[in-house]
Symmetry: D3
Subunit: 161 residues, 6 copies
C-alpha cells in the first residue's frame, strides 16, 4: 500500500464563501448557529472579530459551501442568525489529494490521512481519534500526536525502503 | 396591513467590497476615516485586526459600496487614509425584502422593520429609536428591546389571527 | 415566591486568574485543552488573540479558578498545554445574587435564573435548555429566547401586582 | 511660557480596572453600553475580542475607574450590560505630567497638550480640535496633524533658543 | 524635479489573494512560514485571528501574489504550512502611481516615496531608512518621522513656489 | 545525565506586567517599539487588538519585566511609544524548572531544553536552531521539529531504561 504505487492527482475545484457581519446577535447565539450550520451540511464555518460603526464590536460569519448549496444555506443562515443580508462569491480551490491507511500505534491500529500535492506529502492522524485517546488516558493532545507521529514515521520509512 | 397581504420578494443584487491593509495609520485616524467614509455614502465600513510583516499589528479596512460608487469611493479612501493601494471585487448579495410599520409600544408609537426571506420573517425595532429611549430613561438597550419585542409579538399575533 | 420576599445580598468574593501566552500550541490543541480544563473544574476558560515577537500570532489562555484551586490547576495547565510558565493573581469579584424558579412557557415548564444586584434584576432562561429546544424544533436560539422572555415578563408582572 | 520654567513632576497614582466577559450581549448593546459608561464618568472603556466555551465569540469589557468609583460603576455596569458578575483590581499607574498651551497654527490658535516624564517630552494637539478642522476642510486627520505638528516644532524650537 | 512636471498615471491591475484557515499549526510555525513566503516572492502576507469549530482558535493566512505566481506559491504554501487546501481569487487593484526623490534632512539625504492618485499626493520616507536612524540614535520611529516630515514639507513647498 | 538524577525544583517568583492602550501610534511604530523594548531587556512584549471609544481600533501593549526593571522600562516605554500613561502590577509566577542537554539528531548535535514541573516533563528543541535548519534546507519548521522530536524520544527512552 505504498503511496508511490497510487495515482495521486492535485484537485482543483470551487467553493462558495458566504459572509455576513453580525452586530446584533449574542456570542451564545453565534456559537449555537455555528453548530447548526455545520450540522446542516456547511463545509466549514468560522468567525472573525470585526469592528463596526457606532462603537460596535461584531463578528463576520463565514460559511464555506459547495456552489450548489448556496440557496439552501442562505435560507438556513437567515433562519439561524439575525442577518438581514449576506454576500457570497465562488472561489477557486486547490486541495491536496488524500487517502487513508490504518497503521499500528502504541494505542492500537489508527487511521492515518495521507495528503499529497506535487512533491509535498503530509501524513496525519485524525483529531477525533487522538482527542478520544488523550481524553481517556489523561494526556494532552500533543503527547498523543507525538507518539502517533513516531509510529507514522516508522511505518512509512519501512515501506519506502 | 398584515404582512401576508403584501408582495414580498427576495432581492438578489451586487455589492462591491473595497479592502486595504493599513499599518501606518493610527487608531485615531482610522476611527475618523470610518466616520468620514460613512458620511461620504459608503454602505458600510468595518475594520478587522490583522498581523503583518515586521511585527506590525494592522487593520484591514473594508468598505462596502454599490458597484457604481467604486471610483468615487477609491478617491475618498486614498484621501482619508494612508493607503497607497486598494483591492476590490463585486460580490453577489441576497437581502431580505423589507418594509416598515408603526406599532404602539409602552414608549409610544415606534417604527418596526419587517424583513422577509422565504419563510423567514424578522420584526425588529430600529437601533437609533431604542438607543434614544434607553438613553433618556437610563435603561440598557436590552431592556428597551425586550419591551418593544413584547409589543411586536402582541401586535403581529393579533393581526395573524 | 416573589423575588421581593427573598433575602438578596450582593456577593463579594475573590477569584484567581491564571494566564499564559501560547505561541507553540496548535488551535486543535488549545480547543482540546480548553475543554479538559473546564472538565477539571476551572470556573471559566477563555482565549484572547495576541501578537508576539518574531511575527508570531499567539493566544493568551486565561483560566479563572477559586484561589484554593491554583496549585492543582497550574499542574493541570502545564500538563495540557505547551506552557513552560504561567502568571496568576487574585482579583476581587462582585457577583449578582442568584436563585432559580420554574415557570410555565410555550415549551413547558422551564427553569429561570433570577439575578439581583441592588436595584438591578435580571431574569434569564438557561442556555442549555433553550439550545436543546431550538435544536429539536429547528429554531434559532434567538426565537426560543424571545418566546421564553415573553413568558418571563408575564409571569413576573403578575407576581408583582 | 517655556516648559523648562514650569514645575513638572511624574505622577504616580492608582487606577481600578473592572472587567467582565460578555457572550450574551449583542454588539449593538455593547456599543451603547460603552458610550453610557463613558458618560457615567468612567476614565476609559475598551473591548477585547475573546473566545469562550461552547464555540462562543465574546468580548471582554474593561472599564478603568478611580478606586473610589468602583461601587457606583459596578452598579452601572450591571445595569447597562448582561453581566452577572465582574472582577476588579487596583493597579499602579505612571502618568506623564501634562499642561496645555495655545500656539498659532495655519488653522488659527490651537491648544497643545505638553506631557513630560523625566527627559521625555511630547507635544500633541487635541484629537477633537483636529477632527473638527479635518471634517470642515475635507482633509484627513493625518494632514491636519502634520500641519499642526510643524507649527508645534517651530513654536517650541524658537522658545528653547 | 517637481511632481507637477511628471507624468502621473493611476494604475489599475490585478492581484491574486490566496487564503487558508490554519488550526493545526503553531504560532512559531506561522511566524516562520510568513517570513519564508515573503522571501519566496509573495507581494504581501498577513494573518487574521479567527475562531473555528470545536472551540479552536485559528489564523486565516492571506497571501497576495501576482496572478502568474499562483501555482508556485500554492506549492510553497502547502510545503511551509500544515494546510491541506487553499482557496484563491483574483481581485482588481487600484494603486497610487509612485516615484522616488532624494531630499536633504537633518539625518542627511533621504529617499522619499511620492505617491499620487488623482488630486491626492502622499510623500513619505521609507520605513527601513527611518527605523535604522531611530535605532542608531535611540529615538522612537515617530520622532524620526516627524523630523523627516518637516523636511518633506519644506522641500516641496519651496519647489511648488 | 538522566533527568531523574538531577535536582528539579518548581520555581515560584514574581513578574511585573506593564500595560498601556495605544490608539495614536501606527502599526509600523508599534512593531518597531516591540523590537526596541525587547532589545532594552524586557522579558516579553505582546500586543492585543482592542476597540476604544470614538470607533478607534487600538492595541494594548503588554510588557513583562522583572519587578526591579519597572522604572527603567517605564521610561523606555514613554520614549518609544505615544503613551502618556501606563498601568502596572506585580503578578505571581510559576515556572517549570529547566536545564539544557545536547543530543544527536539527523541535523547533528542539537541543544534540547528540558522543563519539569512536578510529574510533567517537556523536552523541546530551541526555535532559533530549528528555524535556521529549516531555512537552510528549505523545510517547514514542522518538518524539522518532527525529526528532532523523534531523536528526543529515542535518546530519552534509552536513558530511562
Ligand atoms: Ni502503509
Ligand atoms: Ni497509501
Ligand atoms: Ni400592523
Ligand atoms: Ni406589513
Ligand atoms: Ni414565580
Ligand atoms: Ni424568586
Ligand atoms: Ni509657548
Ligand atoms: Ni509650557
Ligand atoms: Ni525635489
Ligand atoms: Ni517628483
Ligand atoms: Ni542525555
Ligand atoms: Ni538532564
Amino acid at each position: 500500500n505504498a503511496v508511490s504505487s497510487q495515482t495521486v492527482r492535485t484537485t482543483n475545484d470551487q467553493v462558495t464563501l458566504i459572509e455576513t457581519n453580525l452586530d446584533n446577535q449574542t456570542g451564545e447565539g453565534l456559537g449555537f448557529a455555528m453548530q447548526q450550520l455545520l450540522a446542516a451540511g456547511a463545509l466549514d464555518v468560522f468567525l472573525t472579530p470585526i469592528q463596526m460603526k457606532k462603537n460596535r464590536p461584531a463578528q463576520k460569519l463565514s460559511v464555506l459551501v459547495t456552489p450548489s448549496q448556496v440557496d439552501a444555506m442562505a435560507q438556513k443562515l437567515f433562519q439561524l442568525t439575525t442577518a438581514k443580508g449576506l454576500r457570497y462569491q465562488t472561489l477557486n480551490r486547490k486541495i491536496m489529494q488524500r487517502h487513508f491507511e490504518t497503521i499500528a500505534t502504541a494505542y492500537g491500529p489508527l487511521k492515518i490521512k495521507i495528503a499529497q500535492y506535487g512533491a509535498v506529502i503530509k501524513r496525519t492522524p485524525e483529531y477525533d481519534d487522538c482527542a478520544q485517546i488523550a481524553s481517556q488516558r489523561g494526556l494532552s493532545l500533543e503527547a498523543v500526536y507525538r507518539t502517533v507521529q513516531q509510529a507514522i514515521q516508522q511505518h512509512f520509512e519501512e515501506e519506502i525502503k
